[in-house]
């Protein structure tokens, strides 16, 4: 897919900075003049994924590919992986610790939100190796 690619390193130890990559990405997409509704959906999906990488894994890499018809978001981490994906996808399921709770996370709504706001979502995860989440948002 030709187009623009943005790559962000997400620090897994800096809770304070969590969400900053998505903030930069949203800013960049706005500047490209993409429809506000598309920018909003990309922002929400990437932000939920970025926060998950910080609070559940040790950070990772977020990549945004902007094509003519769609935007692809890829979030890759080398964290603990997700043992039961079906359970993790359920609204309300969370293993977030108290540090994440203090930031307002841990409602178990992130993955369901990502599914709701993306057109396609695919998760590859292996326990002990890591997780890669890929989402597509179509530009209509």
């Amino acid at each position: 897919m030709p187009g623009l690619t943005f790559t962000y390193a997400v620090d897994g130890n800096d809770y304070h900075k969590a969400g900053e990559a998505s903030r930069s990405a949203k800013f960049a997409l706005k500047k490209l003049g993409l429809p506000p509704e598309v920018v909003r959906r990309v922002g929400i999906c990437m932000y939920e994924g970025e926060i998950n990488m910080v609070i559940h894994a040790d950070g990772g890499t977020a990549t945004l590919k902007v094509g003519m018809d769609e935007i692809e978001i890829e979030l890759e981490d080398k964290g603990p992986g997700i043992p039961d994906l079906e359970l993790a996808m359920q609204e309300g399921w969370s293993t977030a610790d108290s540090q994440a709770n203090q930031l307002g996370f841990g409602a178990g709504m992130g993955l369901p939100n990502m599914r709701r706001y993306s057109d396609e979502m695919q998760i590859d995860t292996t326990v002990g190796e890591g997780t890669t989440v890929r989402m597509i948002i179509k530009i209509r």
Partner: protein, 117 residues
Amino acid sequence: MKVKEIRDLLEAQILCGEDQLENDLQGVFASDFMSDILAFTDSQQILVTGMINPQVVRTAEMVDMKCIIFVRGKMPTEEIISLAEESGMIVLASRFLMYSACGILYSREEDPKPCRV
């Protein structure tokens, strides 16, 4: 509802966005859970929260909020305020509890609706 009206109703202090006092904002969403904010807001422009951290600003930004109201007398740090300022957001701090702040704003809302999910 105008920002200055909200400020007066909630006896709030305005921490940034003084230049937007005359702006007319629509719709209120209140929560301390960031994912709830991301899941359930559609076009609300005002966020009421008791959570104080930079993620509140980033979360609000993701759903295009225009104004954050911190309740329960909690004061955001300089870092949080400058993050909001950078994004052109209005920040208010009120001593009302979440329940009261929401009650006051709700009583002024023209057409309250149940959530769409």
